[in-house]
Amino acid sequence: MRYISEFRDRKLADTLAARIAREAQPGRDYHFMEFCGGHTHAIFRYGVQDMMPANVHFVHGPGCPVCVLPVRRLDDALELAERHGAILCTYGDMMRVPGTGRRSLIRAKADGADIRMVYSTLDALKIARNNPGKQVVFFAIGFETTTPPTAVAIEIAKSEGLENFTVFCNHVLTPTAIGYILSSADFAPGGPARIDGFLGPSHVSAVIGSRPYEAAAERYRKPVVIAGFEPLDVMQSVLMLITQVNEGRAEVENQYTRVVTRDGNQKAQALVAKAFQLRKSFEWRGLGSVTESALRIRPEYEKFDAETRFELADKQSREVKSCECPSVLRGVKKPTECKLFGTVCTPDNPMGACMVSSEGACAAYWSYGRLRDPGKTDAA
C-alpha cells in the first residue's frame, strides 16, 4: 500500500521517538490537544502514546463531528423522520448516538421511521430522485471536510429542480472552536486544564488551509502544527510542537505538507461560501453556545433548507445524567474519569456520543486502551 505503509514505518518511528525523548526537557510537562478524533484514533490504534516520554501528554479535543452535535439537533432529526415522515439520510456514525431518553436513529428505524445510512450526499440525492412522492432530508453534520459535498448536493438539487430534497444543516467550524477553547476559563492560567499547543486538523485543513489558525495561535500564544492522520505524522508533529514550546514560539506550522497548503482548496471554499452563511451562534455539545461557529443555508437556497421547510417543535432535550461527554470534549476530563465509563457506558450500550463514534475519545479509550492505568492523568 504505497503512501500509507511509509507513514507507519517502525524504524522511522523509533528514530522519531528517540528525537522526541531528547527534545522534551525533563523539568517540564507538555500538554498537546489533538483537535481531531482522527488523531485520537491514530494515537490509540497504533499505540503512539507508548512511544512518548512520560512528560508528553495528549489532551483529546472536540473534533469528532458526531460527538459535538447537541442532543437537541439529534432530537430534531428524529422529529423530521418520525413526525414529518421524511426519509432521513444520515452518515452511519450518527445511527447509534443516543438522543433524549436514549432514543437513537437506529431505534427509530426499527420502529418504522424511514432512515437510510448513506456514504455520500450523492446517495441522498439519488434517494430523492427515486422517491418523488416523499420528502428526503439529508442530515448534514461535520466540520469543514464534509461541508463542500453538502454544498455540491444543494447546487445539484437546485439545478435539477429537485422539489423533495432538503438539508438539515449542522456544519460547524474548526478554527472558531479552537479559539473558543483557548478563551475559556478551563484553560486560563490557574484553570483546571492546560494546553501547550495543538495538533491541528488534517482533512479540515486540506479544505480551509493553515491560515485560519494563525489568529488564535498569535492571540493565545499557542503553537499549532497541522498534522496528518498517520502515526508518523502525529509523532513528527509532536516533535515540532515540543521544539516550538522549547523555543518560546507560537506559530502555525504545517507538517502535513503533502496535502495542506496555507490557502487550502479555494474551489471548495467558493462552493461553501455560495451555499452557506455564518450562524450567529450554534450550540456545541460540551462547549455550549459558540458565536459564529457554524453554518446555515443561505436564504437564496432556502427551498433546500429543512429548517425552513419543516416546522420543528420546541423540545426539552436532555443528555443522559452524569454523562461526562461535555467535559471530555473540552479536554478537561479523561474518559476514564467519567463514572459511567466502562460500567454502564460501553460501545454496545452507549450513554453519550463519545462512546459511539469511532472518532470519539471514550470509544478509543475503551476499544484500544482500557487496560491502561485508569488512574494515570495522561493519555497513557
Binding site: 500509507i4 521517538a17 497504533y46 503512539v48 507508548d50 452511519g92 456514525d93 469511532s358 476499544s367 484500544y368
Partner: protein
Amino acid sequence: MTGPDLSGSVDMTHGGGGRAMMELIRDIFLRHLSNPILDRGDDAGLVEAPAGRLVMSTDSHVISPLFFPGGDIGSLCVHGTINDLAMMGAQPHYLTAGFILEEGFPLADLDRIVASMARAASAAGVQVISGDTKVVERGKGDGVFITTAGLGVVKDGLNLSAANARPGQAILVSGTMGDHGVAVLSKRENLEFETEIRSDSAALHGLVADMVAATPRIAVMRDPTRGGLAATLNEIASAAAVGMALDEAQIPVSPDVAAACELLGLDPLNTANEGKLIALCPAEDAGRLLDTMRAHPLGRAAAIIGEVTGEPSCLVQMKTAFGGTRIVDWIAGEQLPRIC
C-alpha cells in the same frame, strides 16, 4: 435437451403446495441437486448412520447482494455450514436446505443460485438430502433467504472446542483476513467501488483433515466469519478465560483489502471471512502445523500470529506493526464507514 422455462418469477403459488410448487422443485431444485436420497421425494432424507460421533450445525444466510465477486448465496450457504462442521474437526456428509423466497424473485436467479449450491456441494463431496421452500409476499423478504443444516462425523479422540484454549498455545490463521467482507461491501448499493478483491468463500474440511492428521493435538479451530478475526478471538478468549497476545506484523492482509479498508475507515480484523480458519495448538506443534497448512491450497498464506496468555483480563492485545500496543476489541454493532 431444452431446459425448463425460467423466464418468470416466484409467485405465491410456488409455495402453495400445488402443481406450481411441484414444478419448481422438479425444474430447479431436483434438476441441480439430484441424488438418490433427495430424489425419493420423501418428507425427510433417510441415510445409514455413519460410524463415529455425529456433529450437526445450522446456519442461515441473508446476504446482500446475493451475487458477489467470488461467490453467491448458493455457494456460501454450502460453505458456511460445512465450515461449521469442519471447525469441530468433522468430515461433512449431508446437508439440508430451507428456502424462503420473496414473491417476484426471478426464477432465473433462483436457478443460478441452486446451480451454484450444487457445484459447491459436489466439489465438497456432500449431498443435499432434504429441502423445503416457502414463499412470502413481496416486501416481506429480501429475494431469497437460505438456511442449511449439516451432518458430519468426527473421529474418536478429536475434541476441538474454544474451551480448550490454554496459555502458551500458538495462534495460527490460514490466510489473509477480510477478503469476503470487502468483496461484498464493494458491491453494496451506494458503495460500489472498483476492485479485484474476491470473496474467499470456500469449504475448509479438506484443509482441516490435513491439519488434524498432522497435528492431532490441535486444541481449537474456529472460522472468523462475521466480526472477523477480532470477534472470533474474543469469543475464544472469553470461553476459555484466557488472554491473547498478537503480533500485527504477522497477520496476513492482502494489499487490496488493506487499501479498501483504509479508504472506507474499516479494520480488516473486524471484517468477515468465509474461507479462513483460526487454529490454536501447543507451541511446540506450531511449526509443523504451519507447514501442513501452507502445503494446502487454502492455507498458502497461513501464519502464526500470536499466542494465548494467562492475562487475567481475558483481553486480546496486539503489538502494533508501528511498535505500540493496543487492545483488539469486538466491534459494537456494525462496522461503519468514517465521516471525515
